[in-house]
Symmetry: D2
Subunit: 290 residues, 4 copies
């Protein structure tokens, strides 16, 4: 889930309510807040806590809420996990520390420390393009022996890595592999993954739920058909901007055009200006999103 | 300056006092805290504030104190800069936001926002190996037009970039170029830089001050002689560990062997264990550091 | 196809005959020589020509032969394509020049020059991990307008790129997308690709043909079953060595253990020594390859 | 030295004569042909041999000629080295094989094979941005034990690596460290290097010779003055184009404007068109080059 903002360090509260309801109405089986699309690293701790509290209250147990606690400071990660646990979140999600690149032995030790202090089950979040470091296959294999770890969200886009994750996951019947770039949802679910955490589900949740189910049911024709819509969204909406920020800007812009929430973005980014907004509008109309 | 710690989220206060005095006794012309070697991104905000307060009090105006405010969250950067200003720091230092890579136009806008809210002069900190993004030559050129920016600390290790920085700096008589990897101190000062921010100055500050002066005075023989000592330290002390963390671990290990401060490190790292510590000890003895 | 060698600059001729027959007996629909697994860039031009001649004679029209002409020197690429055409090859295959990285406009101009001189249809070979440069989506789109280009072999392993290739290919009914890492054969054929160029088909061609057909026929259960075998081969055989050369060394080692051909490798590589060979033997026995 | 061409696979013979004389008149102490600026990998073998023959004849012993034999095919490297030896060249120069990245043990073995077959002393050429692989410090250290290797040309631009090369070179009194990017000539000679291989010496050889001597003589004021001219050339002439090819295009363009030789470039590149040529002309006039 993106984080609806209406200004610097200020949540768009009515937008947040509409957004949570919109996503849940789409039939999703869980909500992930404070991830990359949630701009978590760009938000103050105060705002992160406020978001956790509000979302948990709004969701009110309808689906599990997973909370990103990724941080470069161990203490802040644990602090946020405690807030999440108090508010009734179901799991904490962490990428590797992302300023200093850790060696894998350092990373394993870091996870050991984290697991000792965490009040929630932990989902690993593999995001090497932004953190510089992958959870290596050996580290994930080690993690399957830790009862406190429940799976991996893989946003590497690397399907060779994914296939090895599937093999590694055989060691744990309760392990989840959730894939990040939504363009890979179909194939990853078909080939052994357990679901997706997909930005497009902010504005069109039903599409991703349907695609997930088609893949899980091996309904290939339906899967291919839905997959084409997912690919078109990625191509048309997420590439309007030039920089890495283009995906989040695109999602927030669509949500703003739909009247769901504001598209304000935290520094270092800025919402799309008129030119890009008009291009998103045209594409979103073509795709039947608005 | 490294950050002396004695445990998780706990400063080594007596060690900090000894360290500040040791460095200042070496004749340095300023102190930079909460940079990369200071493990800033790994420290809680509480501890960062405590460190700023204690260091400013300890230094007590003897030299200017520069405070790293680099953060992925704009609001937290500004908060820390305010603490620094209240405590009498001389400047704030910021690298680019380091989770999301910004495009250069995004970065310029980010700096504009920051300058509008900062109570201190700003030094840019170019550290692309850890932040993924350089301040481009065009962005630095733009920055020379901002009165609130006073220079660049360049830790890229890229001397082609450095030579362009020297050219760009001609636009501002009060601009500083400070170079990061201490192995490049001699040549950068000789070729137009204004100084160094060098990790080795934690344990042997006089050496780096002397090298700086030899280079500034074009005393080539003395410069080459001192430079050999600096290269030897980098080769022998900073490459004992295998990971990126090796430099900081090496510095803290020497300081611990010197009895100056504890070598505890914040997650995701861990101080050297006995094997590496013994190797550092042997090398430090050879080099006459202990 | 790998290139069977028995010494420096010397083909293993009887091994080559056995290998071609073995692969064709597996039901493949074409043969690609002088690609990456064929060690093409490491072979002298004399040997490359000899290989083209021998393979075309051995295949004798049973399946189309595609010949890699990738080179840093334009003139040598064209020379080799002419030999291939004379010997009856069906297509030339080229990656981008791989010493100097070209900008995309430079690459388009390069392809224009090549197409003007080529006596054979051209398949583009996207291999950015070794050539440093991808054929951008725009360049591939441009290529679909060139009658002389017949498709893309994509070895990037990047399924986001692949999905865009599928979209781009809609412009040409006779366009082929062939995918490289065999671990991605199943999903790429299922999702719009036209086949694979897979190193494992050197020793177990039938497996890859069967997997291709299961995917093409949307026979998901069979596809998943065969795919597991393909993943196991990649995991067990291709990761015995530590370096990039491990895949080719693994394939050649299995072929040698099967008695098909020698496993000599051209510089800068060297066949597996006893330790690695024994590990490959154990794994190949487990997998029923030998 | 760049390679003067007047068309595809055709040397500009009168231009070559003028260029060799122009460079030698500038007082250089050697000539390096078939390096990166020489577009060696883009040239046919026939043309490379022709160039070696012509240059050796033209130079006629006035200075040593070093010949780049870098190739992905071992056999072709050795073949070219033999031609070079027959024509009286002084040394062969090789980068790592650049299609397949070698591990360092593979690279050492490759060099062992090469040294066994080479009829000339060998200079290592470190060019990781184009070859993907550095000669590691350990490999260079190993090389200092090989009598057939006489030094390293380092084009990495990495002065930390350079300082370690200087340390390693202490093992051999007859070892040379020659630095590539001309912007680093001054500092590297001052700090322990033995010279430069600098593209700008194609058009203004005296400047680089003078700078070398000022640095060698520790004449800092003169060195700084000349260095400014070198930096200005790099900034103004080598950044007119957008792609990696910009440096070579810039050098050839200046030589063409000087009437020395044609600026034709081998594929995948193309000489500057009118717009860029006019920008180079303007800058070259400003700099007093034409």
């Amino acid at each position: 889930m993106i984080t609806p903002l209406r200004g610097r360090d200020e949540l768009d509260v009515p937008g947040l309510e509409r957004l949570v309801d919109h996503i849940l109405a789409g039939g999703v089986s869980g909500l992930f807040i404070l991830g990359t699309s949630g701009e978590a690293p760009s938000l103050s701790y105060r705002l992160r806590r406020e978001l956790v509290e509000r979302v948990c209250r709004l969701v009110n147990g309808r689906v599990p809420v997973m909370v990103g606690i990724t941080d470069t400071a161990f203490v802040e990660s644990v602090n946020l996990a405690r807030v999440a646990a108090e508010q009734g979140a179901a799991a904490a999600v962490t990428a590797t520390p992302y300023y200093f690149p850790s060696g894998q032995p350092e990373l394993v030790e870091h996870l050991q420390h984290l697991l000792a202090d965490l009040p929630l089950p932990l989902l690993l979040y593999n995001m090497p393009s932004l953190t510089k470091v992958s959870f290596s296959r050996e580290t994930v294999r080690w993690a399957t022996d830790q009862p406190g770890v429940i799976g991996v969200k893989d946003s590497s886009g690397d399907m060779l890595y994914f296939h090895d994750l599937v093999e590694i996951a055989r060691a744990r019947s309760d392990w989840s592999i959730l894939v990040g770039p939504e363009q890979l949802l179909a194939e990853s679910v078909l080939l052994g993954g357990h679901g997706g955490i997909n930005g497009g589900a902010n504005f069109k949740p039903r599409l991703y739920v349907d695609l997930y189910e088609a893949a899980k049911d091996h309904d290939v024709d339906r899967m291919l058909d839905l997959n084409q819509q997912v690919q078109a969204i990625a191509r048309d909406i997420y590439q309007v901007g030039r920089h890495t920020s283009a995906v989040i800007k695109g999602i927030k812009c669509v949500l703003s055009l739909m009247g769901i929430c504001d598209d304000y973005m935290a520094e270092p980014f800025h919402r799309f200006r008129a030119t890009e907004r008009n291009r998103v509008r045209a594409k979103a109309e073509e795709l039947g999103l608005i």
